[in-house]
Subunit: 320 residues, 2 copies
């Protein structure tokens, strides 16, 4: 099976969106964007053993590779349109490719995002690079800068599950014994299959003063919003939304709270909302703090709790 067979067999299905005039199979894809739409483009690369555990199923790899990109579109308030996939493969394993391909097609259809092109190459390590693009109505955007002092800080969903899910994989001895199989599965599922908050992002377009997705750790990403907006923040750690599994975990090991707020891989949205903004309860937003005048980038805890110095994940720790 050379790469042309491989593409034909696993990555060439009909595009569903009318904007996609030419998809997989030529030198490039051709898209006719809606009139007056702004185009939003984002890219993320995932490397096996770094961005997902080596034992991750092909279905979960497909899900995560697309989800983390769509999460960036969600953070801007954009609607997904299409994506490209570059795949570096150590081998051509027909079972793996078949499962990966089916899962990718399924999530792409669910999120309304067509595979329009890609590249398949040999590599010593499984590597995926997705570039996703979507549309925004003219003149509207949620960016990292733009928050004002007094705005409330809110997050979607629950924070910290994926960090605990990674511990379930990497350090099973550290998992509290009280945690049952269902809770462990839930946490692992949150690591493997993040859900891009597309509906929330679109609903917040026009009301959020700033926002981004939470991928590197809550504190680190709040810090990015603060840096871009030139503000500080006061957050209330006790208000950070936690899943039942995470609560059970913290009951047994309260010191792990730092991992939850710095571990990353949440793919929830963090937004700033001007005081008085009406929020649809369906969006699942939780208020966790407030933006304040400087020091820029500084985060203080409302009850005086000392926050960890290292705020999140970094790819190149400790190098020059």
């Amino acid at each position: 099976m050379d790469e042309f067979d491989l593409i034909a067999r696993y990555f060439d299905w009909p595009a569903r969106r009318p904007e996609v005039a030419l998809a997989v199979g030529d030198d490039a894809a051709v898209i006719d964007p809606p009139a007056d739409a702004r185009l939003v483009v984002t890219t993320d690369m995932l490397v096996a053993g770094r961005h997902f555990p080596l034992d991750t199923s092909p279905e979960a790899v497909a899900h995560k590779a697309l989800a983390v990109n769509l999460s960036d579109l969600a953070a801007m308030g954009a609607e997904p349109l299409g994506f490209t996939l570059s795949l570096g493969l150590p081998e051509t394993d027909a079972d793996w490719l078949s499962r990966f391909s089916s899962a990718l097609r399924r999530v792409a259809e669910r999120w309304g995002c067509d595979l329009v092109g890609g590249d398949t190459v040999g590599s010593s390590v499984l590597t995926l690079s997705v570039t996703a693009f979507g549309t925004l109505p003219a003149g509207k955007i949620i960016a990292r800068g733009g928050a004002r002092p007094g705005d409330r800080l809110a997050v979607t969903g629950c924070i910290g599950d994926a960090a605990l899910g990674l511990m379930v994989v990497q350090d099973p001895a550290a998992v509290p014994e009280a945690l049952g199989a269902a809770a462990r599965d839930y946490l692992r599922g949150r690591l493997d299959r993040p859900e891009p908050r597309l509906a929330a992002g679109r609903a917040l377009l026009g009301s959020a003063s700033a926002g981004l997705d939470c991928s590197d750790g809550l504190l680190q990403d709040v810090g990015h919003l603060l840096d871009a907006s030139g503000l500080g923040a006061e957050i209330d750690l006790s208000a950070v939304p936690l899943s039942p599994a995470a609560r059970d975990w913290l009951d047994a090991r309260p010191e792990d709270i730092d991992r939850l707020i710095t571990g990353g891989d949440d793919y929830e949205l963090i937004v700033a909302l001007p005081e008085g903004t009406e929020v649809d309860p369906e969006l699942g937003l939780t208020m966790i703090g407030r933006l304040v005048e400087g020091p820029v980038g500084g985060i203080r805890e409302r009850h005086g709790r000392v926050l960890p110095t290292r705020r999140g994940y970094t790819h190149f720790p400790g190098e020059e």
Copy 2:
């Protein structure tokens, strides 16, 4: 230096194109495409040791990663607009990054293509994934399908230099002794720094009936055009344009002709031109054959020369 410092230091320069409303630094880039333009998207992944020799300079890596993508845009007749870069790095080497970044900025400016976003991750092998996008006027395109029997087959530039350049690197003992240092440097340069044929692609938009870029080997890529157009071809091997260095090489080792037409990495354009099409001599096109009714995908040589069975490069040779 964490990845945020790294991006700020090496990959965050002002966008030059007015269409780019928001570039590096937020969750996603925002682009306002020209009214009525079609959007063209392509992606290519490059892995060190596979797509370029391990000793390739950072300047050449930057050049090639962008060039091979823009070559796909050129093949469609599109004008480049912007690109994203995902970079998997084994280490953060400040000298390498600084040289890579300067070279990338230089070629991006030369080709009128803004870096709008990217991702920087740790990886055991240097891996680059570029997604480039450009624009086409409404209703116009050069695709692989669409050629007609009787159309002439033409290529830009010279074919086979990069394949010989790879031999200069990988198998110096096989290089004819008569080949001087300048010729060797020229061939290596053609491997390292392909020039996307953007002007030719745009000039051929509207006159070429089909086209693609020559990246996997002349015969293989002609085969792709034939498959998509449902045609066969007759080519004249003696008409395939060769550089002076390649001619000198073949004078010493005529049997290497097969490598030149199957080696790939040419990044020239292959186009089908209806009989009677007037071609600007400035485009540097050479007629190498003619399209014929079937057998579909078949290529015969005008003088009866037997063509190699293996038509080009494949990433996964010999696997099931």
